[in-house]
Symmetry: D3
Subunit: 192 residues, 6 copies
């Protein structure tokens, strides 16, 4: 067996569905319906109801909140960042999302392996260059890096959003690796 | 002038106090009272009310929510992680917090420069070793790294919390550097 | 379009099938039959008949020649090494091979993303640890690294073979990236 | 106790003041008067009178000898280099010097954390870019790096001096870390 | 004794001259005549006749096959790549080749230590820049890197050849280090 | 021409022999007699008489002053450190010194390329491990690193000396690379 059979390597007490708050019971049911599963990251956070609440709200706002970045663009950032950090959970889960949103299976692989090998618009290339520089050497980011995004048509609000999404996956990549979070097996075959 | 005179390098529209929601108007007033200022990170997020809401709730839960890690320990993680990422905002703001909570000015400097040069308990040393490994090479974390925390007396729930705090600052360090977020000048002299 | 529509980014004259030597005309027909395509790496080398000859023989000997390493093990090394080097061509082509030989789609992803997140036997773990150390810091390999392989049951001849396979992909990864070699699109959906 | 209570982690025999040579007895008295302490680096070298002599002369010539670099500039180089090397001793001692000479507490923090976050003149920015490149990848320095200094108004003699100061702290950072040299506690509160 | 007295650290059975195939018996005799020795890399591969055959043919084609790169240029690539990988075997053996072909002892040292310190033509400088970038960060190579070679007068076929030679030594460097392959002592004094 | 024909790339005014102070005139004459040349590092510093004085005294004390490290050991440290920093000047000049003092040409090459490939006593191996760790990641040195030296028979005074020699070449390597200092050609053929 190559893929570990656990949510995380930590011994945490996950509530049953009935033990969840009504809001999260409903949220998990929506996941079941829409995704056919509850993503393991939510199960992992469910051992701490307060953290589950704030994490899921933060996640949903960054990924689905208002803004000019499309959901596919946010997912592309997620996977390109996760590729640098070699995060198994995030590449599997968000690689599937890129394939789903783009209906382009190769795009998911390109984000997961090396975004520089993809044929991208200036918009997407500059967006990912910024996100990857944030991942590898954020302390070296300077005005010319932000200007490259403006030159590609992004507003300062968009730059803020790119920074937040790229920052977010630098957080979740590290948490997932730190606790050996495993992705739901359903992701592997999605949208190939 | 060495320290830039802006909140971030982005051109974002920050609301006036009166334009803030009642909750945040009150929150900012509490900051004024307790801290003598509104931390620039909150001002920065205030251009997007929805993001300010979820970010501040997530932040407050991780730093002040229930759990076995003391607030000082969470701040020590914040600064040790930020040191690796050379994040000016976070080291200045949370370095002050370490000095404040510990009443030990040198401890703040040690976390900011090189935690290995400090004389730490096994508990604190293993906690920071884990947080720094998450920062530098999270993909190389394995069971023996988690076991080292258990051997130092941490529960699996504590490990989860350490991972979340360390992950969080790997996010905020990168966002702050990406947008050139500047710390409030008040921090520099605090608790020296 | 995310995936470039070329074999490599270089302007090389590829022979038609009829211009190939009889041996390679036959070899390419066997590829068509068995794989449903001629792998682009062979097309790329075909512009130089002498190089195609020696490269394909060297490749076939290392991957399919006599020895105690199974073909799956050689492919696992190929993908784990290619993951470190972020080689799009090699991860796509040999990731498919791992999925095919193992009939375990997740194993291909694990090798491609982070072999440390897989549940592996001591044999496979030590084999990949050695191959990845060769990739990242070969100059730091010492007797204890070789001894770890012996302790996992490998003979000195096996160690030689592991070193040759791991070395080989450190070559092909770099050549593929240097010339922007693109994998055949057929690989993406194989054995998911 | 976070800060170790020793000069270095080595067991070295330091002479008493009366055992010092007359010249160094006087030198240490001058330190007492001017600085309120004898810097621990001098105490550390004092176990070997011959080394103390040549080290202190070399140090004084580089930091206070003739040349066009101001003392503040030399100290800025010292701290920016030490920041890359995470040297506790040097950042604490020379960070205080930057604060003292500049009367700008934030400048010391900026040099200690990330000089790129400071608002610097072209002269200072190019000077620190060169010093930091020397620290991280000296073997990649080429004529264009030296030309950037000339373009910022530095003479070739100035470049030599910048190189010597930056080189010097790459030495002392490593010696201090190697022997766990601890800074005098007096530095922490200076010029905040 | 500083230099280990073995061909590799592995326990492999090398055939006697008489046990070699007639072709390789002859090949080794030619080595004796021309070089005064059989290079240890060939002895090492000789434990596996099939591998010796394909390796030596691949090697000879890349280093001595048709193409516009001179043998000295191929050897310069070999040493500059090996310098990055700190490979004792390859720097000693191919450093001697650079000295022999160039009749310039310093050129061998420059390739072995830091090619950027040499005074090179644009052709040679761009060739080595590409080979070294392939060695350190092949996944970051893009069209502008290939264009720099074209601008220096290389054809796309030449770029392919440069990539293959640079790739080849990234393989052999790692194999040599992995098995602790030792160079024949004769190399050290050659062409000094 | 591969080797640049200058002392450094900077435009510095070197005094004639007659313009040197009597002490240095004599010192350079001794160099001529003993070494057959004045090392370029001394010529380079000669443009600043005060710096030449303190640098040469510091150098001579560290390399030839009292202490338990043999001159060969100090030179081995010099070359092993310089190898990590890819410093052309220092490897050429001090590689020759290792060959001269050891009468073992291969030892010089091993220090210059990869000290781990040499067969070394525990004393020499631990000494070089410490010097190289100081070079690469001094901030990670801890008590166990110092203890490894004590276990190999070094006193705390010896550790201090090792740290100073290793630190010194981390300075000179960077200065030499920063100013493109070229070694005297005479070194190349010495003691091969």
């Amino acid at each position: 067996m190559s893929q570990p059979d656990h949510v995380t390597a930590l011994d945490l007490n996950f509530p049953t569905r009935d033990e969840l708050s009504p809001d999260f019971k409903k949220y998990f049911e929506v996941c079941d319906e829409k995704l056919g599963m509850v993503p393991n990251v939510l199960t992992a956070y469910s051992h701490n109801a307060a953290q589950l609440d704030v994490f899921s709200k933060f996640y949903n706002e960054l990924m689905f909140g208002e803004g000019n970045l499309t959901t596919l663009e946010r997912e592309m950032i997620a996977v390109a960042v996760s590729s640098q950090n070699h995060c198994f959970y995030c590449i599997v889960a968000h690689g599937a999302a890129v394939r789903n949103y783009s209906e382009d299976p190769a795009l998911g692989e390109l984000m997961a392996i090396n975004y520089r090998a993809a044929e991208l618009s200036q918009r997407h290339r500059s967006m990912l260059d910024f996100a990857v520089k944030m991942t590898i050497s954020a302390d070296a980011i300077e005005e010319e890096d932000r200007q490259a995004l403006r030159d590609a048509g992004f507003s300062d609000q968009d730059i803020w959003d790119i920074a937040n999404v790229a920052g977010f996956y630098n957080m979740t990549n590290r948490i997932a690796s730190a606790v050996d979070m495993q992705p739901n097996p359903e992701y592997h075959a999605q949208a190939r």
